[in-house]
């Protein structure tokens, strides 16, 4: 574990990319092969099965630290990370250990065969033989959610440096349904046979937001445009008589969307489609919370299948007749997609995402302005000649989202942040005027700069009116512009509305509290934009959808 901890420290100690990649490349050359494989797994979101509940871990850690459980629980949100909190409260280890990363993972996996007392003994003994950083990593292996400050892209680059294998090729090899238990470093990375894994998707091509005018990108005739749907970006893989559904986050979601199995009846083997998974009804997307309900369920009750059926809106064709066609121009792939999907009957769960015809950029801008009515969040621009690249790249594809909705609101409650922002106030509740009263209608956490967070933190400390546990009521003195992507009716909320993806877009130093918006304004927005059927619940984890 020491070698792995060294690597982690090197990655953690710099914010610069070059030294990170160099540290990782060195590790891929000199670490034990099993450890390399596990490191690739961890950096691509795979982890050992959880064999101890976090409840037990917390209890044992508090006990070992000699503090009451409530104090542990109060400390955890401030640190923001359970594995780290445990590592920090424990007394220093009294022994050392030379076991490798893979060995320790073996210990963790072995816990499932033990009874609770034996598990506890094993965990306490591990804590007592690991240094501070190793102990944190050990806890991370148990609790999951590994973040090492290295994206999969950088990891792939480092692996490419270490092995001499092309980066895009490696990205493809590392995709799919493998675990370190089912493969080896050699089989996965070095002597890879793509046919061995029928489920394997292609690396997703992701677009940047278009910030400059589209005129800067040449003639409209060189570009295709289509709706940017607000669902889950995914790939539908059909091979060997089976189908697989992958999310952009490389999560295998086949079982969550059983209705997509019918795609096999309409599409031949050797087909891979890039599209958007949407809850769909009456020719339009259902509100996003319909899809949220589906995402949360591993098995789907019949009622939900009926109320929130999903389809795939097909954007692109990546594999055709068993052949990888990503290098062909978009216009050609799109024509093949049209032939494959365009004429399917309505009962097929795959539909073509239509292209938007436009002959000048102004016309497209006008169409884009109607996105909300369509239930889309904007349009996508794709160059006719563009190959299907891997990862987020500039130039050939752009997302051109509609501007967010905004409202000016008064800050009334503040709460301290977690983790990175443990010593700052970052979580705020905002209100609009309703006669003499201020009615809270949304929370927001993001959008300010660090400097602004520091400033508001100092202000909150001096302007607290009352405390309710961790929440402080503050003087209604500051107005913020709140930007959001959608609005919908919500009986659960005092204000009667819920916003989608609210964030602080501007601190309105120029606006006195009296000039903030009113509940009436908010209701007018609900009337204007609430019917589009596109909005959902607040407080959901933003699902990046491009």
């Amino acid at each position: 574990m020491k070698r792995f901890a060294d690597l982690f420290a090197q990655l953690d100690q710099t914010t610069r990319i070059t030294p990170k990649v160099a540290a990782l490349a060195a590790y891929f050359q000199d670490a034990p092969e099993d450890d390399r494989l596990w490191t690739i797994a961890l950096l691509s979101g795979r982890r050992p099965k959880r064999t101890v509940t976090t409840t037990l871990l917390r209890t044992w850690a508090a006990e070992r630290a000699g503090i009451p459980l409530w104090l542990f629980e109060e400390s955890y949100p401030i640190v923001g990370d359970l594995a780290e909190t445990i590592a920090l409260v424990l007394p220093p280890a009294t022994r050392g250990s030379d076991r490798s990363l893979t060995d320790w993972i073996g210990v963790i996996r072995g816990l499932s065969a033990l009874d609770e007392d034996a598990r506890k003994t094993a965990i306490l003994s591990a804590w007592n033989s690991l240094g501070p950083l190793e102990r944190f990593l050990f806890n991370k292996l148990i609790t999951g959610g590994f973040r090492m400050g290295v994206s999969q892209k950088l990891m792939t680059r480092a692996l490419s440096q270490a092995t001499g294998i092309d980066e895009a090729e490696l990205a493809h090899r590392l995709m799919g349904d493998w675990t370190p238990e089912t493969t080896s470093f050699d089989a996965l990375v070095l002597t890879h046979d793509p046919a061995a894994d029928l489920s394997k998707p292609y690396p997703f091509y992701l677009a940047y937001q278009l910030d400059d005018p589209p005129e800067d990108h040449g003639s409209p005739g060189d570009w295709h445009a289509e709706w940017k749907w607000d669902g889950i970006r995914g790939q539908l893989v059909i091979r060997g008589g089976q189908h697989f559904v992958w999310s952009r986050g490389e999560e295998l979601m086949t079982d969550r969307f059983p209705e997509l199995a019918a795609a096999r009846d309409f599409l031949p083997d050797g087909t891979v489609i890039d599209g958007e998974i949407l809850a769909w009804g009456d020719g339009a997307p259902l509100p996003f919370n319909a899809l949220q309900k589906r995402i949360g369920r591993k098995t789907v009750p019949k009622s939900l299948l009926r109320d929130a059926p999903v389809i795939v809106k097909a954007y692109d064709l990546l594999e055709w007749q068993g052949e990888d066609i990503r290098a062909r121009p978009f216009a050609d792939r799109r024509a093949l997609l049209d032939r494959l999907v365009g004429a399917l009957p309505p009962e097929a769960p795959v539909r073509l995402s239509p292209l938007i015809a436009f002959d000048c950029w102004d016309a497209l801008a006008a169409t884009r302005a109607t996105s909300r009515d369509k239930g889309a969040e904007g349009v996508m621009l794709k160059h006719r000649a563009s190959p299907y690249l891997s990862g987020r790249k500039k130039g050939d594809w752009w997302k051109w989202k509609v501007d967010p909705l905004t409202i000016d609101a008064v800050m009334i409650y503040a709460q301290q942040g977690h983790g990175r922002r443990a010593n700052l106030f970052t979580d705020f509740t905002f209100a609009v005027h309703d006669g003499d009263a201020l009615v809270p209608f949304t929370k927001a956490y993001s959008g300010l700069t660090d400097a602004e967070f520091r400033k508001i933190t100092a202000w909150v400390k001096k302007n607290t009116l009352e405390r309710y546990g961790p929440v402080r009521a503050v003087k209604p003195e500051h107005v913020f512009e709140i930007a959001f992507e959608g609005i919908q009716e919500s009986p659960r909320h005092k204000s009667g509305v819920a916003l989608r993806f609210p964030r602080m877009s501007r601190w309105r130093h120029d606006k006195p509290v009296e000039e903030a918006n009113t509940l009436e304004d908010l209701r007018a927005m609900l009337a204007a934009y609430g019917q589009g059927g596109k909005v959902g619940v607040d407080a959901v984890t933003p699902q990046e959808t491009d």
């Binding site: 630290a65 109060e74 400390s75 401030i78 780290e84 920090l88 990175r420 010593n423």
Partner: protein, 342 residues
């Protein structure tokens, strides 16, 4: 009739009715007893100040021509109906806990303090009392400090590696206290030490009062850092990442603070290295300090006050929160007095 408490808590600060004075008040008052020279404790515009002789020069430097009366550690002065004395707090040079006795009842205001001797300031001394007003900036069990020697060895190791790779090591530290603590404890054989102007100003004040510090070179527009290869630069926190740093060429940045104990904060700060080094007490320190006072009543200020109060109540103390305008160990907010002192 119930007696007045020895100290009361007002919107100007901590007040002693028997002696008609304040301790570290944040609004102008007639008489202010000051625990130490940090900006959140020693504020401008009081009519009369009292502090230790070692704290006075920095206060004069920062607050200008103030009327300041000094009282050495351990000596008692009668003010009205109160007996007052100063005792080492181990926080920064000259820092004190203030002991106030009225009719046999003793209260102590800790100011900011730490337990471990740092080789720079007068080591902390516990003072017995009935009521203790303590800071709890790091009053959570996740905060515990490694011995200073270990942290200094980490800093030395980093500096040495930077020097070997041809990078300049730039460490961010408070201008009063942390900067000199690093200065007094690093291995000066590794290379020369350059200092930001605000820090060097404080160094000059401390040297003039007889505190021994290693030689340093002030960073000025005229100096050429290339003349000092392998240097360690001690900068104010707010200078990190600003154009001021460009003159040093390729740098590695470090930051020394108790907050560096938290990985999340360390990452947000975006320095290459975080060193866990604080001039405030850690969890074990604050608990042992409270126990050693023998106090039954404890008032907690700056930090995780509501959690720490609950913990103290669990331990059988009569514990309360005092709202103050002290800022504790702030990571980002520059000490405004220091920043203008360039």
């Amino acid at each position: 009739m119930a007696r007045d408490p020895v100290l009361t808590f007002t919107d100007r600060g901590i007040y002693c009715p028997a002696g008609d004075f304040f301790v570290d008040p944040w609004r102008p008052v007639d008489r202010a007893l000051i625990t130490h020279g940090h900006a959140d404790h020693a504020r401008p515009d009081h009519r009369r100040y009292m502090a230790t002789p070692a704290a006075a020069p920095v206060m004069r430097f920062r607050l200008g021509d103030i009327a300041i009366d000094t009282l050495p550690y351990g000596e008692t002065r009668r003010i009205g109906g109160a007996d007052v004395s100063f005792h080492p707090a181990g926080h920064v040079p000259g820092s004190a806990q203030i002991r106030i006795e009225v009719a046999g009842e003793v209260w102590v205001v800790s100011g900011d303090y730490k337990i471990e001797p740092d080789g720079l300031c007068e080591p902390f001394e516990p003072v017995r009392c009935h009521a203790f007003i303590t800071e709890c900036t790091f009053g959570l069990p996740v905060f515990s400090w490694a011995p200073q020697a270990q942290v200094m060895a980490e800093i030395d190791g980093w500096w040495r590696a930077c020097a070997a790779e041809g990078n300049t090591a730039v460490i961010g530290a408070y201008a009063l206290g942390k900067a000199q603590r690093i200065l007094a404890n690093v291995d000066t054989s590794i290379g020369p030490i350059l200092t930001h102007g605000a820090i060097e100003n404080t160094n000059e004040v401390l040297r003039a009062q007889g505190i021994a510090l290693p030689d340093t070179i002030r960073v000025t527009p005229e100096m050429d850092p290339k003349d000092h290869p392998g240097a360690l630069v001690i900068a104010t926190p707010s200078a990190l990442g600003t154009p001021w740093m460009r003159r040093f060429g390729p740098v590695s940045t470090g930051f020394a603070s108790g907050w560096m104990r938290l990985r999340g904060v360390r990452r947000r700060r975006a320095a290459d290295r975080g060193f866990v080094l604080s001039d405030h007490v850690d969890w074990d320190g604050v608990n042992s300090a409270i126990a050693e006072t023998g106090a039954e009543r404890v008032f907690v200020t700056h930090g995780y006050t509501s959690i720490f109060r609950r913990w103290l109540e669990d331990q059988g103390y009569d514990a309360r929160i005092v709202e103050t305008e002290f800022t504790g160990e702030s990571l980002d907010d520059p000490d405004p007095q220091q920043e203008t002192a360039q």
